[in-house]
Symmetry: C2
């Protein structure tokens, strides 16, 4: 199986199309990497580039993007609603196929060293790459944002970066780098207008409240109907088919049917293959049997 | 969506590895085509090459393979258990993604014209490409095999080929070309040793006996357990998830559970996507959302 990693760096520029394009273009030039998507938000003043490719390809592509963002974005002039600490704010590596989370952790450490050594930007490691428990969550690292960290980094030993010196880059600030599992966004629309039912089901199934492992869930109203909106942060533990079954069972206990469901954004082939293996009890089924995989 | 067609030509050589390799190699040289698999059977004295690629790629690859087989295989010396009429016996084009069956029919006609004009081999069109109702089934075209057709082709107007003159190629004989839908092989193992139950279910679900459209099914004994073995010849009409549901329901009515299932060989991504759409009611889901597809 071909090794494929996804990298979705966030940059503190959501208005200037030229700069956003320049950042994405520096990834487009890299062999073994492919830019799948570029998104931006003006009020957040923030953009996001989705790159996939080989471990080496995404490593080079992410480094080149950070380099370009460092040249073009000045944090001293940046304003936006979204919390951030640097020109390149956060860089997650995500295993897609043929790669373990640990390999992504390794890759994130390689990138962090390059960024600290060659670009003089202090780096904080988060999620699976965190070197301290209080740095697993991104929000904890971003406390005080760019302006707050700038004041603290040199004087508060607790905010010493994981790579680089305890000195902000004069214009690019600092960056958070790490590895996390692939996140599948899965929504289930219920055949009821009663949002309380969606909220009740969400509470039952989410990990935080003792539900299914790797499931984050909220109840919403969407187009007048109740929706259970989920983030499956570890589809190898709880895949969309298991989430579907759990929501269906709980809904049926309250006399409610499922209207339809939606997989939002992209999903790794492995998640589809796993669903076939469990739901249709085809335990030997493998992604190698999917014709499109064989074409790569 | 990228256009992908599969072509699985059958050649009347199942013993001489050099010849089998030479035939497959002539496809390997073609840009836009990829040889996925080469199989052979000594007692059938027959080989089978699985090629996938763009319409143009598989057209060129199949032509080059036929050309090589024409040079290397002499039907006057061929003996084997499997029915055949030529050095290249049958060439089916199969839509895999982004391509309709009609496009495959067109492609099969292009190839047929090239084979008749440039290689002087008479061509019969079958399945979806058949120009006469009595040539839809391969067995009808192959009646009498190479030896029988050789005697009849020049004298019986009913056996006039669809392309080329009514004269066998001196060594390569004739060839059958056409287009058909992708065939998914799907087996369901029942938690019973009673084969009669598998046979009963197979009879209920197969199209021939009034069951599900595009389903061929037989009941077998495999490893001491009863198996419903299916060929889904039109997964857009009856996909593996629908077959699973139907077999499960019939088995449960007889108090029998499903042990496990197996998807045999390759399956197009589109079949997995369709199963997600129906079983999990994700009607908007598309293969473009599958990360691996986006990597091509």
């Amino acid at each position: 199986m071909q090794k494929v990693i996804e990298c979705v760096p966030n940059f503190s520029e959501g208005k200037d199309q030229k700069k956003i394009k320049a950042v994405a273009d520096s990834a487009r030039e890299i062999k073994g990497a492919k830019v799948l998507d570029v998104e931006w938000d003006k009020s957040h003043n923030r953009s996001l580039v989705t790159v996939v490719g080989s471990p080496d390809g995404v490593l080079k592509a992410s480094f080149e993007m950070i380099k370009t963002a460092t040249k073009l974005i000045d944090m001293n002039k940046h304003k936006g609603e979204h919390p951030r600490i640097g020109a390149t704010d956060v860089v997650p590596f995500v295993p897609v196929s043929g790669v373990t989370l640990n390999e992504c952790v390794e890759l994130s450490n390689k990138l962090a060293k390059m960024v600290a050594d060659e670009l003089n930007i202090p780096v904080y490691m988060y999620e699976a790459s965190a070197k301290r428990d209080d740095r697993i969550n991104l929000a904890d690292i971003r406390r005080g944002e760019y302006e707050g960290l700038k004041k603290e980094i040199e004087v508060n030993p607790d905010r010493k970066p994981d790579y680089g010196s305890n000195k902000m880059h004069p214009t690019a600030g600092a960056v958070v780098i790490g590895a996390r599992k692939y996140l599948v966004a899965y929504n289930i629309n219920l055949d009821t207008k009663d949002i309380e039912i969606a909220k009740k089901i969400a509470k039952e199934i989410r990990e935080k409240d003792g539900g299914l492992p790797g499931v984050k869930a909220l109840g919403f109203e969407v187009d007048g109907f109740a929706q259970v909106s989920m983030n499956l942060v570890d589809f190898e533990k709880t895949n969309f088919d298991a989430a579907f079954d759990a929501v269906k069972k709980l809904a049926e206990e309250m006399g409610i049917k499922i209207k339809n469901t939606e997989i939002y954004g992209m999903i790794p082939l492995e998640a589809l293959v796993n669903a076939v293996k469990t739901t249709f009890r085809a335990k030997e089924f493998s992604s190698d049997q999917v014709l499109e995989t064989r074409l790569r």
